[in-house]
């Protein structure tokens, strides 16, 4: 599969009066395959939007290289086959939904009214085409934003916080549209804080913190290494105690045993032992790690590492 996005040591440095040179994005190496939904995660100020802006050619990188659909970033030709939905976008409020699509369509030289109507239908706004943007709810504005992002039939969509500030119904609608984009063969690059949404729709993710990629890979691989929960009835307290061990949590109440153990444990041996004692096995549930846990763990670990590094630097400075 070809890469829709590829960056090599992509860096963006800003100068700050107080902090001097700050690498907002630091030697970013990223590969996004064609046809996948890629989640780009990170806390506020991690460098997500700056990365997107560089990939879109809106700002120039300080160092490194980046390619979008095989072309160097900043190449204007690539703008014909990509699109962008910014976080909490603002559209000219006096325009109607149809006028908005006409305006953005005109930037591609598209004048096909039937296409605009079809796009409004696709995002569920066909009946609101003549309403002004000021009359649209947040969810409707986001949907009309998605419609404008589909005007050029893009191969690659950049969505920055597409569900931010939306109610649960609008969340579901936007999520379904994003999944539909993948089914149509488009690549979707989603930057988001909504980790449960990302977990539901993304094939692969990268977690960025302070401009550095901390985790990068298939979601299934990153969340593997979870735990297994076994529930069995008719187990005596003494027998339940025998399962206690390192990293195994044993709960026993009214002859019901709940075992919470690592996925890597010998589950068959446990089950054999339970059956040997005539226990009634109620359920065996593999529990994947949640993306939220991975995110908190990754960002937390990076922060601790950053603080340690800063402390070491201070100590070294003091020693000099």
């Amino acid at each position: 599969m070809a890469a829709a996005i590829e960056t090599q040591k992509l860096t963006k440095t800003y100068r700050s009066r107080n902090l001097g040179k700050v690498n907002v994005v630091d030697e970013l190496d990223l590969v996004v395959e064609e046809g996948e939904i890629f989640g780009f995660l990170g806390p506020n100020g991690a460098g997500k939007t700056t990365t997107i802006k560089m990939l879109l050619g809106i700002i120039a990188p300080t160092a490194g290289e980046g390619y979008v659909l095989g072309r160097e970033i900043g190449d204007m030709d690539v703008h014909r086959v990509i699109s962008y939905l910014p976080e909490r976008p603002y559209y000219y409020e006096y325009m109607t939904g149809m006028e908005l699509l006409k305006f953005y369509g005109s930037l591609f030289g598209i004048k096909d009214t039937a296409k605009f109507q079809a796009l409004l239908e696709k995002v569920g706004l066909a009946g609101d085409a003549s309403k002004t943007i000021s009359q649209y709810s947040k969810g409707m504005q986001q949907r009309v934003g998605l419609a404008q992002s589909l005007l050029n039939d893009p191969k690659l969509l950049f969505l920055d916080e597409p569900t931010a500030g939306l109610d649960p119904i609008a969340h579901t609608e936007i999520r379904d549209l994003i999944l539909q984009f993948r089914d149509e063969g488009r690549t979707v690059f989603v930057s988001s804080h909504e980790l449960s949404e990302v977990e539901r729709i993304c094939d692969r993710v990268a977690i960025i913190n302070k401009g550095v990629i901390e985790q990068h890979g298939r979601l299934d691989d990153l969340l593997r290494g979870g735990r297994i929960e076994i529930i069995a009835d008719a187990v005596s307290k003494e027998f339940a105690e025998s399962f206690k061990g390192e990293d195994i949590i044993v709960s026993h109440h009214n002859d019901r045993l709940i075992l919470d153990m690592p996925e890597t444990s010998d589950v068959n041996a446990v089950l054999d032992a339970l059956r040997g004692k005539k226990a009634n096995i109620v359920s065996i549930v593999p529990r994947r790690r949640r993306l939220e846990d991975l995110f908190v763990e990754t960002v937390g670990r990076a922060d601790i590492r950053g603080k340690a590094k800063a402390k070491a630097a201070v100590t070294e400075e003091a020693a000099k």
Partner: protein, 262 residues
């Protein structure tokens, strides 16, 4: 060219709906409407004072509109993130900038035309001038529109790297210097008795800063005895001066805006 035109027409659509601009326009129209009454109070010719004051109001209102319109133009687009959606399409930064400027100039044309029509109608109601005189009165606002186009280019240039509030005072300052002080500096730079330092400053001001006084050609309209020698040539020279100055300012704006982190 289509891209520039589409951005320009959207800018006009937005400008004519901006409440602050409409309020300034309304105040201008209200001021214009009381001017015919002021002529009676003056010892000078009623016609002269009426036309002169009407032009002053039209010019001042247009300048305020031009400044308020342009100083927020780029910062608003960045703050609202509309610029990102537009620049992610096949639109170059210079096309965006030129489109915005063109939109501002067209919006100014629209607003100045509205004020001119109101002014001429008002003059006709109170003074009953000849059709020839009315046509003559209606020509001066075209010069003001050119002046405002230049002022808009100044505001836009500063907006590529300066915050709106500072830009407001800077652009208004440039206009005041170019309108009120430029004729004075011009006299100083040509006077043989002027001190060398003052002469240097005067030469710089008259040659580098835009001379907005060039556009005020109302005297022959107010005082029938006065004429501009070779008026047509003067007007064409002013058109050329405006085009050159606007061209330079837009070019500088493009260079600065192209390097700006948005």
């Amino acid at each position: 060219m289509n891209v520039i035109w589409n951005i320009a027409s959207t800018t006009v659509g937005e400008a004519i709906r901006r409440r602050v601009l409409l309020v300034i326009l309304l105040i201008g129209v209200l001021l214009l409407s009381i001017i015919p009454a002021l002529g009676i109070l003056s010892a000078r010719s009623e016609t002269s004072i009426t036309i002169g004051t009407m032009y002053a109001v039209l010019r001042g209102t247009s300048a305020l509109i031009a400044i308020v319109l342009t100083i927020y133009m780029l910062p608003n687009e960045i703050e609202r993130r509309t610029i990102y959606t537009i620049l992610s399409k096949p639109v170059q930064r210079w096309q965006f900038l030129v489109g915005k400027y063109l939109g501002a100039v067209l919006a100014l044309l629209l607003m100045i035309t509205m004020m001119t029509i109101f002014m001429v109608l008002l003059f006709w109601v109170f003074q009953h001038p000849t059709a020839e005189k009315m046509a003559e009165i209606a020509t001066q606002p075209f010069m003001y529109w050119m002046e405002m186009s230049l002022l808009a280019a100044v505001g836009m240039f500063f907006s590529t790297f300066i915050a709106p509030l500072v830009n407001f005072f800077l652009t208004i300052g440039m206009w005041l210097v170019g309108t009120v002080l430029n004729p004075l500096y011009d006299t100083l730079s040509k006077n043989g008795n002027t001190q060398p330092l003052m002469k240097g400053i005067a030469t710089i001001v008259t040659n580098i800063l835009p001379n907005f006084a060039n556009y005020d050609t109302k005297n022959p309209i107010i005082n029938p005895g006065q004429v501009i020698v070779n008026g047509a040539l003067y007007k064409w020279t002013t058109v050329g001066y405006t085009a050159m100055y606007v061209g330079i300012l837009l070019l500088l704006s493009i260079v600065v805006f192209d390097r700006r982190e948005v």
